[in-house]
Symmetry: C2
Subunit: 355 residues, 2 copies
């Protein structure tokens, strides 16, 4: 293998590439990985040298903290290739900041900016041929960190592994999404870790989501765990509601992830004259709005799908089908956001970063 060193990143190139064995037309989201990964260990209070190396399994002691106490966080972002073959990142500073906020909440060390950002850019450059042109094609970027110290004692790990892996993806179409509004299960506690991208938050959602799936619903819209009346978020997405011509979404809080897509869609909507309200919105309000015909759209917003249209929602024993509206806010906003991400429209916000 060829070994070089760029700034303080050690690079060990893979002697071969898997790329020719990959069918880019039939990619499953998050299943296929590129040839390289970035790994950086935190040991004895210090970050060691980041290494870009061939994608390969980790050796982990069975007593590693992450297996027993769930000390694990992650981020999700994308890189895009434009028509001129330039590669773009979208608001990576936001993911970096959020990653370190998650780290603090999970008692993990913050990752220095140069390791996260330079590591990310260097890694993407090396595997740049995995990013295909064309709308919907992208490279999904997954930075994550796990507690690696040995020992089955419920205290924070001392050692950690920060890692970035890359997965080529196509446009993510979730199909017609019917959701259940949670009236018993919850994903986050007041004073809990809902606002962090902590691994444990997702496992907590699987069982209630499975119950919903068995009844023919694809997702759950989570509500506050105290009253189950406030609509909060869904799976890996924030949620928007359009009542008449106003777009409403819950404020971020200790329970709700501060989604990059959410805040970007809000900014575009505001710029383009769509009335937005960031406030608590309750189940009763949307049920009433549905009954009087003012509830026009519900959609999820997140990096994977950008927006995901919701066809209807179940609350307790009743199913509420959403109307078919022309000129959906969801579709307009998705197109505008995508156009910025693929460098097809002027980036009036200064969000994109050229590689």
């Amino acid at each position: 293998m060829e070994t070089t060193q760029i700034s303080d990143i050690k690079i060990i190139k893979s002697p071969t590439s898997k790329i020719d064995s990959v069918d880019f037309e039939t990619l499953t989201f998050g299943k296929q990985f590129t040839d390289h990964m970035l790994v950086c260990d935190f040991i004895d209070g210090e970050w060691h040298q980041p290494i870009i190396m061939p994608y390969a399994p980790f050796e982990m002691d069975p007593s590693s903290r992450v297996f027993h106490y769930g000390q694990a966080i992650f981020e999700g972002m994308k890189a895009y290739r434009d028509a001129q073959d330039e590669i773009w990142l979208f608001r990576p500073d936001q993911n970096y900041e959020r990653f370190n906020k998650s780290a603090i909440r999970l008692a993990m060390p913050e990752v220095p900016e140069h390791i996260f950002m330079d590591g990310l850019k260097e890694l993407i450059k090396i595997d740049a041929n995995w990013i295909k042109k064309g709308n919907g094609n992208a490279l999904y970027i997954r930075p994550f960190m796990i507690g690696t110290s040995d020992g089955v004692i419920a205290s924070p790990s001392l050692n950690f592994k920060f890692c970035i892996i890359l997965s080529p993806v196509k446009s993510y179409y979730s199909g017609e999404v019917k959701v259940v509004i949670a009236d018993h299960f919850s994903r986050a506690a007041n004073g809990g870790i809902g606002a962090a991208k902590a691994a444990g938050n997702y496992a907590a959602q699987f069982y209630p989501t499975k119950l919903a799936n068995q009844k023919g619903f694809q997702q759950v819209i989570w509500t506050d765990d105290t009253t189950h009346t406030k609509l909060e978020e869904s799976g890996t997405m924030n949620v928007f509601f359009r009542i008449n011509d106003t777009l409403i979404t819950a404020p971020v809080s200790e329970r709700i992830l501060d989604g990059v897509t959410r805040k970007s869609l809000l900014a575009i909507a505001e710029r383009d004259g769509i009335k937005t309200e960031v406030r608590s919105i309750t189940v009763n309000e949307i049920v009433d709005a549905h009954r009087n015909g003012s509830l026009k759209e519900i959609f999820g917003a997140g990096t994977a799908a950008v927006v995901s249209l919701i066809a209807g929602f179940q609350y307790k024993d009743e199913y509420f089908e959403l109307p078919q509206v022309a000129d959906r806010f969801a579709t307009q906003l998705k197109e505008k956001l995508n156009a910025i991400q693929y460098n097809e429209a002027e980036d009036t916000f200064n969000w994109t970063v050229k590689l």
Copy 2:
């Protein structure tokens, strides 16, 4: 290596033992492991053959579900050696049942009884010389299960690894424990996973516990996340309060783990004429009881330490020092429970299981 097969467990013996390198006088809880472990994989909807093999690292793909979505559960129990050199388990059926309850809540497959129980017993027999005689000495048993499927998509793993590792331990003395009563942070949501021994619950506690540590407190007593008035549990222990001569502990719920030590202490107390109450107990009630002199004891109860005496508690800006009482319930109950566990007293409850 010698390979044999007992019932349907494959056994691969370690050619050497680490036991001579271990100083049994200075063990750190959960840091040292025996020579063997049990591993059993769940793949394509089926449990494969359990294997007892030399303790060794796992190879894990960087995209394994457990690293990203926290699908991981565990149990904690102990084996004891009595004066006649017999080895005893304490209520392993309770841990087995709880493990599978955790599995269901985390959308993981239940582990069949023969894999869990026969696997456990066979493994302990093989490493039986790691269990030393003498009060306080024990073998800490850690069954756990992790999601091993590849892929960074937030849906349940299809493949899982069930594993048992063993750690020799000495009596666990936590020293003088001062606690903070949580008035902002929480460990569990209504409708969440607090009642499961899910890995993610523990990582969520680390940061608030670290803040408490920095102020000179060793643990946090968690309260309900809605009102922060109900006293629930602490770290890896349920909590008992003695007001005058009544022993009070919160009922188990969706938020509170159904601790084996808790219910065993309750049973012993009831058998021996200590008045017990299983009901919600509030911060105001213990503050008032402290002020009028009726609050006699607070202690934690869990497998690791059996009981852990609490010296005082901080609530908001006030510190409440507990009185020094003679004939503590905590001490009496601990001795009685230990006597059953070490086969030194009659087991009127039929709790112990001889290996």
